[in-house]
């Protein structure tokens, strides 16, 4: 018989029971410790890399509230979670433009307490009263931006001014694009002169053919951190969020931002309160808190997106104000297009994308 160390089963059982009870006890203590403190709480569900710790700490300090933060990386992830759960699991969510409209129609958001929104006056009015939420009944703007081209001028000699230039076969295997089918398909539509949100069959077929030209030029699709591929020289041109381009430009003067001449995909993210939120009062306070210029400034310090808060922008350093990647020129904003919900036509877009990524 092999002389293996045969552990005594009785000891194993006792050890397992002890371990399990220790772990459960520890777990209950940890979680109980959090809830027995009579502190008020606020449950925030927000995009990754979008709200800095400094803001949460400042709010916790001033209001004596404990803030619990959970993150998501896409509107649809957030929607699936909210829809699937019981009401009130999170107080605050940060949906993008079209998602606000969807969530309102599905009854997932509650109306804001307008009396508390005293800081709304700090906002640039061109970002208020949008079609997805007239009168800002359910949302206040948070941060926004566009999707634009990032060009590594050391690797690309040509002067890039439009999106249609990246279809050129000479850029084979040198692009990083967002892994976002509405953005890529939408911008391709725009480069053909159509709307970002076209539902026309003939136009979509043309877009499909154009996408086939783009396919061999793509080195990778990345919505998480496309700047990495640009910064380590994997790709020479990128189609990505403006804040990512701003960071590239901060790291090296080789990078420049190019707003496609056809017009850009624009987004505006908004702060909303969920229906059945357990801490609506605190939530409303938080929204107003975020609209304070000095708080909004803290956000832009970390994440250089487009800040719709006029008063905050006034406080920002010149490096922000003079960077077109963060402080997007108003003519670009005027030509920008928001993504819209297109009903069941989204299935056709999905089909185009499946072919594109086969």
């Amino acid at each position: 018989m092999k002389k293996e160390s045969k552990p005594n089963p009785r000891i194993i059982r006792r050890a397992a029971a002890l371990f399990l009870s220790a772990v459960l006890l520890g777990g209950t203590l940890l979680t109980a410790g959090c809830s027995t403190s009579a502190k008020k709480e606020l449950n925030v569900f927000v995009w990754t890399e979008y709200m800095p710790d400094t803001v949460f700490k400042a709010f916790e300090k001033e209001y004596g509230v404990k803030v619990n933060v959970t993150t998501y990386s896409s509107n649809e992830d957030m929607l699936a979670k909210i829809k699937g759960s019981n009401e009130g699991i999170y107080d605050i969510v940060v949906p993008s433009d079209y998602m606000v409209k969807m969530m309102i129609s599905e009854g997932l958001l509650q109306k804001l307490d307008q009396k508390k929104m005293t800081n709304l006056t700090n906002m640039d009015t061109s970002f208020l009263n949008q079609s997805f939420d007239p009168g800002n009944a359910y949302s206040v703007p948070y941060m926004g931006g566009v999707v634009a081209l990032c060009v590594n001028t050391k690797m690309v000699k040509e002067d890039i001014t439009s999106f249609s230039q990246i279809f050129d076969p000479k850029y084979k295997g040198s692009l990083v694009l967002l892994d976002d089918f509405r953005a890529v398909i939408g911008e391709t539509s725009k480069s053909l002169g159509y709307s970002l949100n076209t539902t026309d069959d003939k136009e979509l077929t043309a877009v499909g053919n154009k996408l086939a030209e783009l396919k061999p030029n793509v080195k990778l699709l990345d919505s998480d951190s496309p700047k990495t591929a640009m910064l380590n020289g994997e790709t020479s041109i990128g189609y990505m969020w403006n804040a990512e381009i701003a960071i590239c430009m901060q790291e090296s003067p080789d990078f420049k931002i190019v707003f496609p001449s056809e017009g850009t995909y624009m987004f505006l993210d908004n702060l909303c309160i969920t229906k059945g939120a357990k801490n609506s009062d605190t939530a409303n306070d938080f929204l107003n808190f975020l609209m304070r210029p000095e708080i909004s400034k803290l956000v832009s310090d970390e994440y250089p997106y487009l800040n719709p808060n006029k008063a905050a922008v006034a406080l920002l350093p010149d490096s922000y104000k003079n960077s077109p990647a963060s402080n997007i020129p108003s003519d670009v904003i005027a030509k920008g297009e928001y993504v819209q919900d297109i009903g069941t036509t989204v299935e056709k877009y999905d089909q185009l994308w499946t072919t594109f990524t086969e």
Partner: protein, 294 residues
Amino acid sequence: MRMKLKTSHKLRSKMLPLITMVSPVTLWLTLLIVIPLLYLLVISFASTDASHNIEFSFTFKNYAKLLDPTLLTIYGNSLVVAGLTTVLCVLIGYPFAYIMARTTPFRKTLMMIFLMLPFWTNSIIRLYGWRTLLGTNGYINNILETVGIIKEPLNMLFTREAVILGMIYTLFPFMVLPLHTAIDKLDKNLLEAASDLGARAVRSFFHITLPLTASGIFAGVIMVFIPSLGYFFVSDLLGGGKSQLIGNVIERQFKEAFNWPFGAALSIVLILITLLLVKIYTKAGGNVDELGVV
């Protein structure tokens, strides 16, 4: 002296242990798998309305969509990638598990520890580590270029090969552990007897070792092949998300495409394909009784 048990006694003495053993899993599976699965089946025959809510009108259109050649290609790609991953895992994992089983107990434990240690570090971090290694300006290319083996950097990252590497990397212990368990219980005396009777090493391997460890191979193959069909995050991280697998398509249906019925249909088909392959594999590989598979 064996007592003659009355038939009812016999039944009861068989039923009780059977029920205690199998009822927990039955309960668990029914609540958390069967019910969701039935729901999935039902909505796979449904469609969506303009506001993306599910309309329960019986239709085959979700399944009809599967005849699209693009989708078939994607299913095919997923099967190929999963298959290659599994085969390579067996080829690398079997010798490794064999070496581990045949060494001294001390070294065996050491090998086991060193095998599992990386896997208690988050797999995402390790995959990002591979990105740093395989990149155009990554360390492997740098070293190869400095040493002079290559002139131009190799394009290793964002290729199908990189994806397979990543899959093998993530699923390796799922092959090695069951293999090791099976090889470990092999009685050395059998092999000694075989060689005493004149059999050469290769022959005794194929006629004794392999058949007796087949159950381990089976378990390993199942636990590598099936998950790799759905491991799309490896394809995203190391493949650049360009060449999508069926898992990506399904995920998109439940999210950006707002098309749960289609996603459900795709999932049902995936499950059916898998069950079919498992059935074929079981029948062909023998050892049906030992595994209790009907």
